[in-house]
Each structure stands twice: as C-alpha cells, then as structure tokens.
Symmetry: C2
Subunit: 158 residues, 2 copies
C-alpha cells in the first residue's frame, strides 16, 4: 500500500467537505459546522483564490486532506502560508499520511517563496503534537482563538 497526494481541484468539493466535517466532529465542534459541499467547490473555483487544498489517497481511496490559505506575518513583513485543516480519516491513521500532507504543504510554501507555515492545534491533541514536533515545528501555548460573527458582528459594524 502506498500514499499518493495531489492538489485538489474542481470536482473535489464533496471529498474536502466530508473530511472537514469529520475533523470538526472529532474536535467536538460538529454543531458549529454549517458548510455544504458546494461551498468547497466555490473555494476551489474562486478566480481570486484565498487558498487551496491537497488530498491524500491510500490504495486509491481518499484518506486525508490539507486545506491551506494565504496569510501574512507582521513579524516577518512577509506573506506566509496558513494550514487551516490537516485531516486524516480515522481508518487511515498511523500510516504516515499526516506527515506526507504536511510535506506537500511545506513544498508548496517553498515553491511560492514563503518563509513559514503556521497553524493552530488544540492543546489536548497529543497525536498532533507528536507529528508536528517530529516535523520540527515550534509550538507555543497560551493562545486564545477569538471570533466575532452573526448578530455581534452586525451590531459592532453598525
């Protein structure tokens, strides 16, 4: 058995949607997940794309994905690459798929001349921590994720 990885393109929306939903559910946030497959099709077909994705296959079957978007570091004053989701389906864990997806994202950053990749990790996720530390990532705790949406966003902007 072996891993193959390719960039996602038009037609891969439902595959990406299924993996993003699995990851959200696995993190206990299934109730906050409102995306539909067509949203990911639009993301992939955007004429001014904010990002893209890779899909990993195991024996020809979709087994994982990495969804990234453009970012900017004020510390570096440079565009960087942000890894929004790194997902490996439950039946495909411990096969090195996560690491291969991370490598694909690293190669993409290099090919775009970007100096860094960044992402978030929940502090309880020991499996993810092992993967990221082995890859040489710096991991900094004590961070809170803040979000403003819905009525609060409308109120603030009015």
């Amino acid at each position: 058995m072996s891993i193959t990885i390719r960039q996602a393109g038009v037609g891969d929306g439902s595959t990406l949607h299924a993996m993003a939903l699995e990851l959200a559910t696995n993190h206990g946030h299934g109730q906050d997940f409102t995306a539909v497959p067509e949203d990911f099709e639009r993301f992939l077909a955007d004429p001014s794309p904010v990002g893209g994705a890779f899909i990993a296959f195991w024996a020809g079957e979709p087994a994982g994905s990495a969804i990234w978007h453009r970012s900017f570091s004020t510390f570096r004053g440079r565009e960087t690459l942000y890894l929004e989701d790194l997902s490996v389906l439950p039946g495909h864990r411990r096969r090195g798929i996560g690491n291969e997806l991370l490598r694909a994202v690293a190669r993409l950053a290099q090919s775009r001349g970007l100096p860094a990749i960044s992402w978030l990790m929940m502090d309880w996720n020991a499996g993810a921590r092992r993967l990221y530390e082995a890859a040489g990532a710096e991991i900094e705790g004590g961070t809170c994720y803040c979000r403003l949406s819905g009525e609060a966003l409308e109120r603030l902007g009015s």
Copy 2:
C-alpha cells in the same frame, strides 16, 4: 480630541511597521521581529493583496492600527477576515481607539459579505479580553500556535 480612522495605503509602510514592532515588543517577541518598513510598503502595494490595514489617528497623530488578511473557515465553507494585529500605541490607550479599529474591521467584513472575523489573543492579556468581550466576541482557550520555518521547513519540504 477625537479619533479618525482611514484605510492604509502606499506610503503608510513605516507607520504600520512602527506599530507592528511596538506590539511585538510589548508581547515579548521583539527578538523575532525581522520586518522592515519596505516589507509593509510591499504588502500595501501587492497587486493581488492578501490583506490590508487601517490606521487610527488621535488629534492627527497615528495612534493605532489594525492589520488584516483574507482567511477561510472550513466550518462555514466561506471566506472570512482574519485580524493579524490590533495595536494601540502606549500613550493612546483607554481612549476607545482599539474599539474603533475593531469596528472598522467589522464594517469591512460586512462590506465584503464575510460572515466572521477571527483573531488570536494571548491568555494573559486582560485588557484585550475586556475589549473583545465587550464587542461580543467568543473567546476559546486551549489553543496552541504552531509554526514551521527556516531549516525545519527546508528539511520537511526536501
């Protein structure tokens, strides 16, 4: 005295650089800050911009800034707006400048049809927490910030 806010444009690079440096130093990360003013000029002049910025003035003097970039939420399947830096210079705190900058970012998100703004906050930053909670933000702890750059990035991508 009153606050005025405008979008940053070409020529504002050194103002943004000074504020980003102040914020990084204030957060104890001055040694990681390598950007120069020209980097921010390039950011503002990018023909395919990943983001932009607002500058707040108090009595005509630059007093704060908000630097944002495009983002994508896999939960929503929608483009969102990410607030990279919200900075108020030390002599200008407690004047409502942070809130006015946040409102400008909220209005921008609305004008672009984006459903959410997100950002990170250090968990020790009580002043920021008060500002964000008053604005109606949801704040979730337990997050780690991960970064891969330099030799580790080269090694992984090779």
